[in-house]
Assembly symmetry: D2
Homo-oligomer: 254 residues x 4
């Protein structure tokens, strides 16, 4: 079997007169686009433009639902009920699915954004609500979530195809969680070290942890950060490294 | 051929902690529900609850997209571009379609709300953008609009099934438009007169105008106002009158 | 010295086309109005109408700042920074102060709403930020907060006049906090028991706790719930009971 | 009497995670800052940061109220009532005044933004409502508006100090209005021509119109566009030109 990984990137995060990100530059290098749905970023015009651009590049279309917190960019935890999580995921998926249809495309996956992603990784009830929402709207959608997290478990439980997501520039804890950003050594600054971490996750299914031991990790999709300086250069480097190892780059489930 | 008319009603106009309307009381009497999509009213929970209630009553599910103006309830004209109209209609239809799917239903029609409805009745470019949006999301949807208006023309032009909407409690101008509310004799206060106007529109295809002459009108769907006192009593009365004339009550296209 | 207590009530919680509360009915019985500032409820027109009504009744004007969460009515905890708390309190106070000025009145106090109130009662950093915001906008404003809470301590620390708030219909824990609503015996359903709790708090400075012992409590202002059935009847009863004990009813600091 | 003009610039137009403008670069060259109040741009943190920066540079603080249209950046006409214009201007002034107070400053002027500015220039009822709002909040505030417009007339009518605003990069019509942007020759591209237009307006009180004749114009304050490329270079050039003609640069009324 050929080894493969998806390269995903958050996109469509402009809003009204405000521009963010460099979607056009990163699109040639990714296989999945997670497109903001106007709750934490994005607006209907940005959604349409981003979907059209992703289709043009043959990139898989994903809904990127977030918390209703535009000022906070969906990055602040909110004490929402599982029912509310269900409801806001349903409508955000629907909005993006309609934009995709209107542009001649089709929604492929769903990846929660920011605080919703982080809360769903640990909170089983939120995770179940989100997975159920994805399932109830369209059971053929792929659910992306932190590798080994509650969200992945919840997606499996309702019968969804899932994509275990890994990170190149973040270090891991022994329980499989990411080292919190405010802690030391949370980020991997060296691109070569990042690439090595990815290759090892894909080829060996393992990642070193801050506690010193290796843990098993499934690497279906790698998160690239399109809004960071050097994003394109890193994307080129990781693709080159994957190619040298004969690892395919393609969206999850394809 | 049996004469028939649809009875539609705007619904799902509560928002957060605020309640509006009496959806549960009017649902037994209508055949189409126009459900707010959170731009002028409604929120994801209200959308879900309203969709579920409409499904339970066998009422056709409609998206009721409005202008992005929650404080103004979508009733204030905004100088939006046709492109913006397209975009906001696409995402609102999508949101409601996803809610419908999640509850085991399927979207049947689209009716614009408030100022968007009124502007689209007269402005050909807005009308075309809205019709195109409906078509591009799902060409099987029925587009409801003011009978004989630009929106109906635009819907026909893109090949959509359309529903000419008529009003029981409003008087008409010789050009087929409704008498503006701020003018004298805009409203028909007498229920019997309202019913007679409806019966004549359905059976004869004619309505009297404020200018004294009759004009032709197509009556596919009748707008009921669920938030007005006496709504249920009027709904019962109009259904009885229609039955006595052997006029079927069913959603457009069914 | 004459014993005295303020009777405060949340008001101005309508929004756009949506009505909430019975402000006109409760205004004759209260001495402080906590007026929503459009973050969790209220809009600029409602703010103006509520301010005008409160001035007409000689009721002290208060800003009632909340979290930026209209759909959740400001009742869901959000993980906001102290800096964000400072900023949103400043602008909400300012908005209401300007409305007050435009109607010939003057802002008297500030009471945080919902989740912001509850978080500020326990979180010292949030409490300090809110107290500092009130102080920095207008150091003559009175800060209302849960009796004995972190917010009261923070208000004292920056030199603000404070109003210890007590509740008639809630039971207390031994640490002075309110019994959480989801616990048994959180609410006092019997009006006579509510009144006795208030009288004892004002006259003896004590309240019984769920743990069985009394604790000291300072009762500067009593929270009435204008949106509950029986609110007016309870307000009349509590005023009568206070009068019989020669307890004055007046806003804090007056 | 020394000739003088104010140089004003719109600022604080970032929002949440989205950055806009180059406020820090343009602040050294202007005498009035028009600071967005969160309706069309800006958020409470941006308001605070912008106010603090303006105070640091000794620049007069202005509120820049706009329509409630974040996605449209307040640039789309909305059919709002004069009453609504009054209400939204009151709360936006209040919010910025409180931020100013919290940072040790004081509000100096008000300039409407975008579509609100343009509508108020021509619509006497909207203009009166806005002028009344400014007056009712703080009668000492200076009202900036298009030179010779309805808003200036309304400001004078309620007894406000006013600032006639002129433009360096826009051509004029014979009625004193700006040539609409979509028309030919609406913009003055040549910096030297812009500067000559300004000098003539200040020194001679005249401006050439697209119809070929001169008209009288009062130039109290000049609008600089901080978000355009070359803004700083133009600001330096105009200041140098004004200095050479011994024209003072200072905020209106100072």
């Amino acid at each position: 079997m050929t080894l493969a990984i998806d390269l995903n990137c958050d996109m469509g995060e402009s809003f009204g007169a405000w521009k963010m990100g460099h979607d056009d530059e990163i699109l040639p290098y990714v296989t999945s686009a997670n497109i903001a749905c106007s709750y934490h970023a994005g607006d209907p015009a940005v959604m349409r433009q981003t979907v059209a651009a992703a289709i043009k590049h043959g990139v898989a279309l994903g809904a990127h639902p977030g918390l209703p917190d535009l000022v906070g960019f969906g990055r602040r935890n909110m004490d929402i009920s599982p029912e509310h999580a269900y409801d806001i995921v349903v409508v955000q998926i629907g909005a993006l699915a309609a934009v995709a249809a209107s542009q001649g495309g089709r929604l492929h996956h769903v990846k929660a954004h920011g605080a919703l992603y982080n809360m769903a990784a640990k909170n089983a009830r939120l995770a179940s609500a989100i997975a159920q929402a994805v399932h109830d709207v369209d059971a053929s959608l792929v659910l992306y979530g932190l590798a080994g997290s509650e969200l992945i478990r919840a997606g499996n439980a309702v019968g969804l195809k899932v994509g275990h997501e890994v990170f190149a520039d973040r270090t891991y804890q022994h329980d499989g969680s990411l080292t919190p950003r405010q802690q030391a050594h949370a980020m991997i600054e060296d691109p070569q070290q990042s690439i090595q971490q990815v290759l090892r996750m894909v080829m060996d299914g393992k990642v070193a942890t801050q506690q010193g031991e290796d843990i098993a990790v499934q690497a279906d999709t790698l998160c690239l950060h399109g809004d960071q300086p050097g994003a394109v250069i890193f994307a080129q480097a990781i693709r080159k490294a994957l190619q040298e190892k004969n690892i395919s780059v393609r969206s999850v489930g394809n």
